[in-house]
Subunit: 218 residues, 2 copies
DNA sequence: TTTGTAAGCTTACGACGTAAGCAAGGATGC
DNA sequence: GCATCCTTGCTTACGTCGTAAGCTTACAAA
């Protein structure tokens, strides 16, 4: 008679799955491993989740739910920038999540809430429905794309120069002259390597503002 | 004595793998299936590729190599826009590719050539090294993010209104008022749904141009 | 002829997701 | 108090995967 354990539930299964993914990535998230973590056989999990895909969908929505929706600031651009930065922070805290988030159609409640909030902010700032829709799609394409690229190229900004130096030989053949020179610039410390996500966010937000103004003027 | 077949080679293995992925997605790309396609046992493939990851890296670079580099136009913005559109077209022709492309560190020759070309265009347009680096990173984050989102939400523009109508019930609860209204707008035909990739490309390119001008003026 | 080497084959192992059915225990109806 | 059922978790098993280890065959060089 082992120590009695709390009974399983969908919620407990998903939370354990999230913890497992956080500690070892998607590879370590197997039904058997997840069962072991909960002190249970793998097949028992199927009483509480339909299949592994349901587990993946579930933990992705748990992550999305972690994204704080900023309060409604007076300035919509500030709100939107914070929203993008918050998403980036949360997604990089769970590096296994973005590939899942983007390669499956996700309509979990947290995601819907997130989108609804965004539409509200843009409408409040005077965007037409059409432009608001374009706007959040453009923002999110960038945020997710940026996050994924950052994760797939996991060089901390501080190490960038060093890594660049290491890869110099790849570029030495003269086949990629511009990359070679760019790498040299980074190595010399003339510029810091990858842009912060704020760079792109501001670029897009400024552009959207101009489009909104043109729309209102026209 | 079966019909003699051409001998295996890394190239032939990768081409067969590409064809297999194109016809049935990543799921159907298994070593055994790939061997069968080539009239060979699975283990024979390991004479020509290190392991399955090498196959995946290889076919991703084959896809990247399909992206036409536009000729150097007089207008850098036109060139850059075409570049983004070409990438989008190629990647949607191989819908299994973007998730792979973005979730593994890729430095295949086709990718390096693609980046080098882009840097050259931007430098030719008067961008500093730093701004050119930021610029292509921002562009590509958007292009890949947009492409992935588009693939994960595979509603052809023409079907959008219909799909929206189908999902109306999800929104009827009043929990997501802005989404509900947006959906209604789409259903009424007031706007066409998802933006074309050109919308975001132009937005970003205009913003980059302004930054370059400011840089040159400063 | 001998010998070396490369290409492909055979067998096998330890994962994986999950279908099918069983066992035990608590709740419910009489 | 007893019989019933339903819930929860367990056991066993199947087909699939990537790939390690070693074998066979055939041709080229000596």
């Amino acid at each position: 008679m082992p120590t009695s354990r709390p009974p399983l539930s969908t919620r407990r299964v998903l939370q354990a799955a999230l913890a497992l993914a956080d500690s070892g990535g998607t590879d370590s998230l197997t039904m058997r491993h997840l069962g072991r973590e909960l002190g249970v056989e793998a097949m028992s999990l199927y009483r509480h989740v339909a299949n592994k895909d349901a587990v993946l969908d579930g933990i992705v929505d748990l992550v999305v739910a972690e994204i704080d929706l900023p309060g409604a600031e007076e300035d919509w651009k500030v709100t939107m920038r914070r929203r993008g930065e918050a998403a980036y922070r949360v997604l990089t805290r769970h590096p296994w999540a973005p590939p899942l988030l983007m390669s499956r159609t996700n309509t979990g409640p947290a995601m819907l809430r997130y989108i609804d909030f965004t539409l509200g902010v843009l409408r409040g700032a005077g965007f037409s429905w059409k432009l608001a829709d374009y706007a959040w799609n453009t923002m999110d394409s960038f945020v997710y794309g940026y996050t994924l690229r950052r994760l797939a190229f996991p060089v901390a900004p501080a190490d960038y120069a060093e890594t660049a130096a290491t890869h110099q030989h790849l570029l030495a053949g003269g086949e990629y002259p511009h990359m070679a020179e760019l790498t040299r610039q980074v190595t010399l410390g003339h510029h810091p390597g990858d842009p912060d996500i704020t760079f792109g966010l501001n670029l897009i937000l400024d552009g959207l503002e101009r489009l909104r103004d043109a729309e209102q003027a026209g």
